[in-house]
C-alpha cells in the first residue's frame, strides 16, 4: 500500500522553491551521460522536459504517437500563456497570480506547487522570447498583454490566436536542437503500452510501433509521462482525435495513484454539437470573452421563435436580451472563470432559453464592433472568426456566434509530489497528465504555463534529486523477466481484442461511452445519475470485450486497433471518474453536484469533509480501488467561498 508524501519543503511559501533548489542533490556532468531518461509525449511538457534534460547532458529518449513531435495537441491552444510580469503596471505580482490560480481552482490545489508555478511563470516568457517565439508586441516593440477569465489584471501573453502553436514550436525547436546534438533520440509513431517496473522502480516502457505493429522494449533510469489529459473519454471534446489517457492509465495499473479523476473542465465557448456523425468539438478561444458579450433572449417566446427559425438574433431588441453573466456576476461579467460560465449557459438552456438546437447561447460582437470598429475586431480575432465561419457557414461580423460548453481539459491526473514524482519510484508525470496545479478548475492561459513550467523549470531540477541516487545503477538489459512479462501482457491483450470478432465497431462503443459520461458525469452531476452510470459503464465494458469488431491486422498500420486499445483503457478510467465524482459529496470547480449548491445556484464546497486530494490506488482487476487522502492545508491563503460577483 502506498503512502502519500507530498515532500513539500519547509519554510515560508515564497522561499520553498529556492530552498529546495539549494538543498537538492545534483548529478555531475560525467554521470549525467550515463543516465537514461525516457520521456513519453512531445507536447509542451514533454518536449520542453526532453530538450532541457538533453541540454543538461542526460541521455534522453522521447516518444510520440504522431508522425512528428510538432503535432502534439498543445499546438491547438489559442488564447495565451499567463505570467506575473506586471508589464502593464496594473497591480500584478507572483502573489496575485498564485492567489488567482488557487481561487480559480476552488481551493483544491496544493499551495506550494501553485506558488512555484507563479514564480517560474516569468522565466517561461523570457525563455520563449529567447527562442524566437513571435509574441504580439505593441508599437514600442514591447510585449503585449490581454486579460483572461478569472483575473482582474492583464497578464496573458499571446501570439495571435495561435499561442499554443508558437510555444509548442518553440519547445519543438529546442528539442530539434538537442536531437541534432545527439543528446535526445526521437521516436515517432510509437505508442506507450505499458511501464515496466523492476524492483518497484520504473525502469522502462513497452511501445507499439504504429506503422509495423511491433512491440518494443526501452530502458530508462527514470520515466517521465507527459501524455496529456483524458478528455476524450467523453468522445466529443475539444481534444485532438488521438489524445488519450492510456499511458497514464497504464501507470495507474502499475501502482501510480490517480488523483481527482472527476475534475474535468467544461469550456464555455465551443461551437455547439450539430449532428451525430460529428467527431470532435471546436473551441473558440476564451479571449473572445474580452470583447464578446454572452446572451440569450429574455423572453422564452423569443427563444422558441429563434429555434423555429421565425426570428433572427439581430431581431431581438437590446432590452429583450439577457446578458446573464453580466447580470449575475457584475464584477467579472463575461470574464468569469470557465466552470462558472459553462454552468450559467447550461442553466439558461435547461430553463428553455437556449438558441440554435436549444443547446446554444449567443456570443455577440456587435457592441465591440460599434465601439472599436470592424478593423480592430478583425485584427484581434480575425482568425477565430474565420475559423467559425468555415465550420458553421455563418459570418460572426453580421450575426452573433453560437456557443455551448464542451469538455476541454482534465485537472485530474496522476498524483505527483512536489518533485512531480508519482507514487511509483522513478516514474514522473508532467503537464496535463499530472493533477498538481489547477485544483478543481483551471484558469484560462494556465495550461501552457503549467506545461512549460514543469518541463523547462521544475522537472530538470527535481528529477536530478532522484537520479543522483541512480548513478550506481547499471542499465538494465531489456531481456530481464520484468520486460518479458510486460510485453507478453500487451501482446495477449492485443490478441484477445482481435479475436473477439464481434459485431459493433469501436466508434459505436466510443460514442456510447461518451453519451453515458456527458449525461451522467458531465456538467451537472447527481448521486442518482452517478449511481446509474456505474453499472452502465460496467455493462459497457463487458459488451466491449464481448462484441467489439476490429478489422485489419496487427502487423501494419491499423487505426481501428489503436482506437480499441485506447478505448479499453478509457472505459476503465470512466469507471474511476464516476466513482470519484460520487464519493465527492460537494461541488467545487469543474465538479458540480446538483445536490450541493447555494440558493443562487453557485457551487457549494464542503471544506470540512472534502478539503483533500483524492488519490486512488489500483488494487487489481475487479477489485475496488483504495482511496488515499492528501489533506490540503492552506497556511498562507484565507479560504473563502469563491465569489466573482
Amino acid at each position: 500500500m502506498v503512502t502519500l508524501n507530498s515532500k513539500i519543503p519547509q519554510g515560508p511559501l515564497s522561499e520553498k522553491w529556492t530552498k529546495y533548489k539549494a538543498d537538492q542533490k545534483l548529478v555531475n556532468p560525467a554521470n549525467k551521460r550515463k543516465l537514461d531518461v525516457i520521456v513519453v509525449g512531445t507536447g509542451l511538457a514533454g518536449a520542453s522536459a526532453a530538450a532541457s534534460l538533453g541540454a543538461l547532458g542526460f541521455n534522453v529518449k522521447i516518444f510520440c504517437i504522431s508522425d512528428s513531435p510538432r503535432r502534439a495537441h498543445s499546438i491547438a491552444a489559442q488564447g495565451g500563456v499567463n505570467a506575473a510580469k506586471n508589464y502593464p503596471n496594473d497591480g500584478d505580482s507572483i502573489g496575485r497570480l498564485f492567489y488567482d490560480t488557487i481561487k480559480g481552482g476552488d481551493y483544491r490545489a496544493r499551495e506550494a506547487n501553485v506558488y512555484r508555478l507563479a514564480e517560474v511563470s516569468n522565466n517561461i516568457i523570457d525563455q520563449c522570447v529567447a527562442q524566437g517565439v513571435p509574441f504580439a508586441r505593441d508599437y514600442a516593440g514591447m510585449l503585449d498583454n490581454r486579460s483572461f477569465g478569472g483575473a482582474q489584471v492583464s497578464r496573458t501573453f499571446y501570439a495571435k490566436g495561435q499561442t499554443g502553436q508558437q510555444l509548442l514550436l518553440g519547445a519543438y525547436s529546442a528539442l530539434s536542437k538537442e536531437i541534432k546534438a545527439g543528446t535526445v533520440k526521437m521516436y515517432e509513431r510509437k505508442e506507450m503500452m505499458d511501464v515496466v517496473l523492476v524492483d518497484g522502480k520504473a525502469r522502462g516502457i513497452i511501445t507499439r510501433d504504429l506503422q509495423t505493429g511491433k512491440l518494443e522494449r526501452w530502458f530508462g533510469h527514470a520515466v517521465v509521462v507527459a501524455t496529456g489529459g483524458y478528455g476524450n473519454v467523453y468522445f466529443l471534446s475539444t481534444n485532438a482525435m488521438n489524445s488519450n489517457g492510456s499511458a497514464a492509465w497504464q501507470c495507474y495499473k502499475k501502482g501510480a495513484c490517480f488523483a481527482n479523476p472527476c475534475y474535468v473542465q467544461i469550456h464555455p465557448t465551443c461551437i455547439p454539437v450539430h449532428g451525430d456523425y460529428q467527431s470532435k468539438l471546436t473551441l473558440m478561444s476564451e479571449s473572445l470573452r474580452n470583447d464578446g458579450r454572452i446572451w440569450v433572449p429574455k423572453n422564452i417566446e423569443d427563444s422558441v421563435a429563434i429555434r423555429e427559425g421565425r426570428l433572427k438574433p439581430t431581431d431581438i431588441a437590446e432590452e429583450n436580451r439577457d446578458y446573464y453573466l453580466e447580470r449575475r456576476y457584475p464584477a467579472f461579467g463575461n470574464l468569469v472563470p470557465r466552470d462558472i460560465a459553462s454552468r450559467a449557459a447550461k442553466e439558461r438552456c435547461d430553463a428553455g432559453y437556449g438558441v440554435g438546437t436549444g443547446q446554444a447561447v449567443y456570443l455577440d460582437f456587435s457592441s465591440a464592433i460599434k465601439r472599436l470598429g470592424k478593423d480592430k475586431v478583425e485584427a484581434r480575432y480575425g482568425n477565430l472568426f474565420q475559423m467559425y465561419e468555415k465550420i458553421t457557414a455563418q459570418n460572426p461580423y453580421e450575426t452573433p456566434m453560437m456557443i455551448y460548453p464542451a469538455v476541454h481539459y482534465t485537472m485530474g491526473g496522476l498524483w505527483v509530489d512536489y518533485e512531480l514524482q508519482t507514487t511509483v519510484e522513478g516514474l514522473f508525470a508532467a503537464g496535463e497528465a499530472n493533477f498538481s496545479d489547477h485544483g478543481a478548475n483551471r484558469l484560462g492561459a494556465s495550461a501552457l504555463m503549467q506545461g512549460l513550467a514543469d518541463g523547462y523549470f521544475v522537472l530538470p531540477y527535481t528529477i536530478q534529486n532522484y537520479l543522483s541516487s541512480e548513478i550506481y545503477s547499471q542499465p538494465i538489459p531489456t531481456t530481464v523477466p520484468e520486460f518479458d512479462a510486460a510485453e507478453k501482457a500487451v501482446a495477449e491483450k492485443i490478441e484477445k481484442l482481435m479475436s473477439i470478432k464481434g459485431t459493433k465497431s469501436v466508434d459505436t462503443f466510443q460514442k456510447e461511452l461518451g453519451h453515458i459520461m456527458w449525461n451522467k458525469v458531465g456538467m451537472g452531476r447527481t448521486a442518482q445519475g452517478l449511481q446509474e452510470a456505474i453499472p452502465m459503464l460496467k455493462a459497457l465494458k463487458e459488451d466491449f470485450w464481448a462484441n467489439v469488431r476490429i478489422t485489419g491486422d496487427t502487423n501494419s498500420m491499423n487505426p481501428e486497433l489503436e482506437k480499441a486499445l485506447r478505448l479499453s483503457d478509457h472505459i476503465e478510467l470512466a469507471q474511476l471518474m464516476a466513482k470519484d465524482a460520487l464519493h465527492r459529496e460537494e461541488s467545487c470547480g469543474g465538479h458540480f453536484r446538483e445536490e450541493h449548491q447555494t440558493e443562487e445556484g453557485e457551487a457549494k464546497r464542503n471544506d470540512e469533509q472534502f478539503m483533500y486530494v483524492a488519490a486512488w490506488e489500483y488494487q487489481g482487476e475487479g477489485v475496488e480501488p483504495q482511496l488515499h487522502k492528501e489533506e490540503l492545508n492552506y497556511e498562507f491563503i484565507k479560504v473563502q467561498q469563491r465569489n466573482y460577483k
Binding site: 530538450a51 532541457s52 504522431s66 508522425d67 512528428s68 510538432r70 503535432r71 502534439a72 495537441h73 499546438i75 491547438a76 516568457i125 523570457d126 525563455q127 522570447v129 529567447a130 527562442q131 524566437g132 513571435p134 504580439a136 508586441r137 505593441d138 516593440g141 514591447m142 501570439a159 508558437q166 514550436l169 525547436s173 529546442a174 530539434s176 536542437k177 515517432e188 506503422q211 485532438a240 482525435m241 488521438n242 450539430h274 456523425y277 460529428q278 467527431s279 470532435k280 471546436t282 473551441l283 475559423m387 468555415k390 465550420i391 457557414a393 523547462y456 530538470p460 469501436v506 466508434d507 469488431r549 478489422t551 485489419g552 491486422d553 501494419s556 498500420m557 491499423n558 487505426p559 481501428e560
Partner: protein, 249 residues
C-alpha cells in the same frame, strides 16, 4: 448527399498502389470531409475490410497532421483551409471525389493516404531554432522588436508543416516550408547571430533529402492552408546569397 469516392489504397511503402471505388450515402452537408471518411470507414469495418488509413489529429486546422490530395488539389477545393476544415457543403450531390496521398519522393507512402514527412523534421534539426538552452536568458522585454517585424515573423511562423507546398509543387520543392522558418528567425534579433549558418545548413539538408528546386510557379503559396507568402522564399534567397557572399563560415 450521395457520393462516389476514388481512393488510393496501398498496403505499405513497397506495395503497388491502386484506386478503389467506394460509395457513401446520406452525407450531411455540415459534415466535415474527414467525418465523411469516418463514415466510409464504419462501412468498411461493417464489411470486415481494412479501413482507409489517413493521418489526422486536431481536426481544427492547426496540427498539420492531415493532408489529402482531393480532386487534384492539396487540401481540396477551398483556399486557406486544411483537409479537416473542409466541409461537404463544398461538394454537390452525385459528385465523384478523387482522394490521393501527397505525392513527392521525399514523402514515401506508409499506407493508403498516410505519408512519411519526417524529412521536414530533419530539415528543422539542421538549424530551425535559436541555439539557446533552458535558463540564463534576458528579460522578455530586454530587446524591443518593432511590431512590424514581430507581426511578419508571426505570419511566417504560422506554418503548420503539413507538406501541402511540397505536394503542390511540380518539383516537390520544400522552399516555402524552409523559407517560413528561415524568415521567422531572420526577422527577429534573437535569430540573427546564427542566420548565415542556419540558412545554409537548412538548404543543404533540403537538397540532400531530395526536395526539388523552386521554379517560381507559386503553386505552394496558392495551396498553402495557412497562406504563407512567397515573399518568404525571396527573403530566404537573399539570406542564402548574403550568407554565401559575406559569411566566414
Amino acid at each position: 448527399m450521395n457520393l462516389t469516392l476514388k481512393i488510393w489504397r496501398q498496403e505499405n511503402a513497397r506495395a503497388k498502389g491502386r484506386f478503389e471505388t467506394y460509395k457513401v450515402e446520406n452525407i450531411s452537408p455540415d459534415c466535415s470531409f474527414l467525418e465523411m471518411l469516418d463514415i466510409l470507414n464504419e462501412q468498411l469495418v461493417d464489411k470486415l475490410s481494412h479501413p482507409v488509413c489517413f493521418d489526422n489529429d486536431c481536426r481544427e486546422g492547426i496540427c498539420g497532421m492531415c493532408g489529402l490530395y482531393i480532386n487534384g488539389r492539396p487540401h481540396g477545393p477551398d483556399d486557406g483551409v486544411t483537409t479537416c476544415q473542409l466541409h461537404m457543403r463544398r461538394f454537390k450531390d452525385g459528385d465523384t471525389i478523387v482522394i490521393e496521398p501527397w505525392r513527392a519522393r521525399p514523402f514515401p507512402v506508409i499506407r493508403d493516404l498516410v505519408v512519411d514527412r519526417t524529412a521536414f523534421d530533419k530539415i528543422i534539426q539542421e538549424g530551425g531554432y535559436v541555439s539557446v538552452t533552458t535558463g540564463g536568458v534576458p528579460d522578455g522585454n530586454a530587446i524591443p522588436i518593432p511590431k512590424k517585424n514581430a507581426d511578419e515573423a508571426m505570419d511566417a511562423a504560422a506554418c503548420i508543416g503539413c507538406g501541402a507546398c511540397v505536394a503542390a509543387c511540380k518539383n516537390a520543392s520544400a522552399m516555402l516550408f524552409v523559407s517560413a522558418k528561415v524568415s521567422q528567425l531572420a526577422l527577429l534579433p534573437q535569430g540573427r547571430p546564427e542566420a548565415a549558418r542556419r540558412v545554409q545548413a537548412m538548404v543543404a539538408k533540403m537538397d540532400e533529402l531530395g526536395f526539388g528546386n523552386c521554379t517560381n510557379t507559386y503553386a505552394c503559396e496558392a495551396e498553402c492552408p495557412k497562406q504563407i507568402k512567397r515573399s518568404n522564399i525571396a527573403r530566404m534567397n537573399r539570406e542564402f546569397l548574403c550568407a554565401k557572399v559575406c559569411s566566414e563560415e
